[in-house]
């Protein structure tokens, strides 16, 4: 089976001068990885690159065997819609809409037939114990984060890219949220790449990568 994420010889340079070099990073299908590093080291930038939201300078990135770095425009957007789910520190839900609509929005751009959208959304939300018909502004922060998780998983992605998803939560809620995210990723067969500047999460992951190791390393990390 193709790896969920396969990065080779990546080189990226921001106009401001910030640079990332990743010789190799491979995450197997269904594998869960924690990427740690201090703020500003480039974790978020790497996730954006992996999702095809930034153009890399050199190298290649593949998601589930498809080279997202080789395609552009609509094809790249379609690949992201079908294969990648993203979660952020801020939930970034669409305001004024229900939980169901927010999850459904993720399906709007992928290949899932329209008739199944509500069913998929409700299934995920019920699993995460959020009432699908509730408007997101009526939900607690923790519930909103769960809607964001459901939205990331709705399109049955190969990998979830979670960028500091628990930074806004207190430690107890954070631990629960991580556990839930790991559990549901396992259930749905999605790999997980989660970033954090908080080393306390390391115990929850079987594989932990320090950003500094990744960037500096000349040899494979695994």
């Amino acid at each position: 089976m193709d790896p969920a994420l396969d990065i080779r010889d990546l080189h990226f340079r921001r106009p401001g001068g910030f640079e990332i070099d990743v010789p190799e990073l491979r995450i197997a299908a269904g594998e869960q990885v924690l990427l740690t590093g201090p703020s500003g080291c480039g974790k978020s930038t790497l996730l954006m690159l992996a999702a095809g939201l930034l153009d890399l300078g050199a190298g290649s990135i593949s998601i589930a065997g498809q080279a997202i770095s080789e395609v552009r425009g609509a094809a790249r957007d379609a690949l992201r819609a079908d294969r990648v789910g993203m979660i952020f520190q801020t939930h970034h839900l669409l305001p004024g809409m229900t939980a169901r609509e927010n999850v459904g929005a993720a399906l709007l751009f992928g290949g899932v037939p329209k008739g199944r959208h509500a069913e998929i959304a409700d299934g995920l939300l019920n699993r995460l114990q959020v009432e699908p018909g509730t408007r997101i502004d009526r939900l607690s922060v923790g519930q909103q984060q769960r809607v964001a998780i459901a939205r990331a998983l709705a399109g049955e992605p190969s990998i979830i890219l979670a960028d500091e998803p628990t930074a806004a939560l207190d430690p107890e809620h954070a631990a629960n949220a991580i556990a839930l995210l790991q559990e549901i990723c396992r259930e749905r067969g999605a790999a997980l790449l989660l970033t954090s500047h908080d080393p306390s999460l390391e115990s929850s992951f079987e594989r932990v990568i320090r950003f500094s190791d990744l960037a500096r390393s000349e040899e494979p990390t695994s």
């Binding site: 978020s44 957007d77 379609a78 305001p95 459904g104 929005a105 751009f109």
Partner: protein
């Protein structure tokens, strides 16, 4: 979840600016549609109101005035025509018909046309649609017969058998508050001797029929002796205290007219007239003239002199026969009449074209105004969306993360602006329909000009389509801004 829902959510999220821009566009659309529709409807209405008259003759100074007075009852012409002139014109050509009209009296602000029975028999108030007299009822015959137009009957509540006094002079418009200067009496009034103090000209509007049998058109003294007890005939017109000291308008109590018929609605301004016998009109005028001269007043129409027997206009129709060139005949009749310097002859069709030529330049101002408002509406769509893009960059970035293409983002914003155009345009059509109906009602009640409050469908479709396109174009700049929204920058946590 659909794209449309995303767009609608975005619109309702900024409901105030959405409503304001929609209203701005709606007003512009309503203005444009009503201008274009009312112009056409107005012209149709004027053309229709000419009926089957081919020519108008009067003593007016200009042909346009002759048509406005002679057919649209605007004002009584100042210079009347003598009866001999009327006879001369009527005999000058093999007219299909020639009908004298005498304008100058009124009843509660409605114009009274003194004419011959031919007016109801031969003149058609709308081409191909002759008058129809409601049953029971008949055409005018005797000198004091009067037939009511449908709007007059509806407004006054009068019907066949009722009696009324006419006012010499056009009276004051209903809106002026002086309606009721002219009294009508109903035979029923005589039955109530206690009717004294509250007689105000409105309380007798019932359809009382004369059950006394003593009406001969002159003797109605009985009614008023009841009410006032001081009525002594002709030397005062202070009927129920409603006539103004300056003496105008002038109520003629000397002649009571009897309603002999009520007309069916024609959908023209002719519904606002009372059709009286021309002799009766002459009689009213004679009373004034003779009184001023200090002569004893006439007792019957037979005593009237040539100076009394004047008309203010004539309606003429040339014969129309299949296979004959009637327009050539009309032209030659027109040319012949025009050689007579004492009269003004006018072709209503030509004059209405002229009138609308004058009005057209005014229309252009309103159309320009409408386009101006529409363009400013479009500009405000651009500004509102442009500013909202600033606030929605994060949301656009989220959609991109979910796999939305740049082009689809562009489409969403364009849909949004086009939607404002659609809502505004539809609202505008609604405003125009309601507004046109209202304008038509006001116009009909104030001037009697009946326009059908129909919206011109072709121009409306064009305007609506144009508005939607314009609104969509207004969304191009904001849409491009959305298209260019960089994703990564806008997903950083809010701090």
């Amino acid at each position: 979840m659909t794209d449309l829902r995303l767009v609608l959510k975005s619109l309702t999220a900024r409901s105030t600016s959405t409503v304001v821009t929609c209203l701005l566009i709606a007003i512009a659309v309503a203005l444009l549609i009503s201008m274009l529709s009312l112009r056409e409807a107005g012209r149709r209405s004027f053309t229709r109101g000419v009926g089957n008259a081919h020519l108008v003759v009067s003593g007016d100074s200009s042909p346009l005035v002759a048509v406005l007075n002679g057919i649209f009852y605007a004002n009584p012409p100042r210079t009347p025509l003598s009866e001999s002139k009327v006879t001369e014109i009527a005999g000058s050509m093999p007219w299909s018909w020639a009908i004298p009209t005498q304008l100058g009296d009124s009843f509660r602000g409605f114009p009274v046309i003194g004419t011959t029975p031919a007016f109801l028999d031969d003149f058609e108030p709308a081409m191909g649609e002759p008058w129809r007299i409601r049953r029971p009822g008949r055409n005018i015959e005797g000198p004091f017969d009067v037939v009511l137009g449908s709007r007059v009957a509806a407004a006054t509540g009068l019907g066949v058998g009722d009696r009324l006094f006419l006012t010499h002079g056009m009276g004051v418009d209903a809106a002026g508050g002086d309606v009721g200067i002219v009294e009508m009496t109903s035979a029923n009034a005589e039955d109530d001797p206690h009717d004294h103090g509250d007689h105000d000209g409105h309380d007798h509007d019932g359809h009382g029929h004369d059950d006394h049998g003593d009406h001969d058109g002159h003797d109605h003294d009985g009614h008023d002796h009841h009410d006032h007890g001081d009525h002594d005939g002709h030397d005062h017109h202070d009927h129920h205290g409603h006539v103004h000291a300056d003496g105008s308008p002038h109520v003629h109590e000397e002649a009571t007219f009897e309603v002999v018929g009520v007309l069916e609605p024609t959908g023209t301004h002719h519904d606002r007239i009372l059709v009286a016998s021309i002799e009766g009109s002459w009689f009213l005028h004679a009373i004034d003239r003779w009184e001023a001269a200090g002569r004893p007043l006439p007792e019957s129409v037979d005593e009237l002199e040539a100076e009394d027997r004047l008309v203010t206009g004539m309606l003429l129709r040339t014969p129309v026969r299949a296979g004959r060139n009637s327009s050539a005949m009309l032209q030659s009749a027109f040319d012949r009449l025009r050689r007579d310097p004492s009269i003004t002859v006018a072709s209503p069709a030509t004059q209405i074209d002229r009138l609308f030529g004058i009005v057209a330049s005014l229309d252009a101002v309103f159309v320009a105004l409408g386009i101006g408002i529409l363009v400013s509406g479009a500009i405000s769509v651009t500004l509102v969306l442009w500013n909202s893009m600033e606030l929605r960059r994060r949301q656009i970035a989220v959609l991109r993360v979910l796999g939305c293409t740049r082009r689809r983002v562009l489409g969403l914003v364009l849909t949004e602006s086009a939607m404002i155009g659609v809502v505004g345009a539809v609202l505008g059509v609604g405003f125009a329909v309601v507004g046109a109906r209202f304008a038509a009602e006001v116009l009909a009640s104030k001037t009697g000009v009946v326009i059908l409050p129909t919206i011109d469908v072709d121009s409306s479709i064009l305007i609506v389509a144009g508005t939607v396109v314009l609104a969509a174009v207004a969304g191009v700049a904001p849409a491009v801004r959305a298209y260019r929204t960089p994703v990564a920058e806008h997903l950083r946590p809010l701090d």
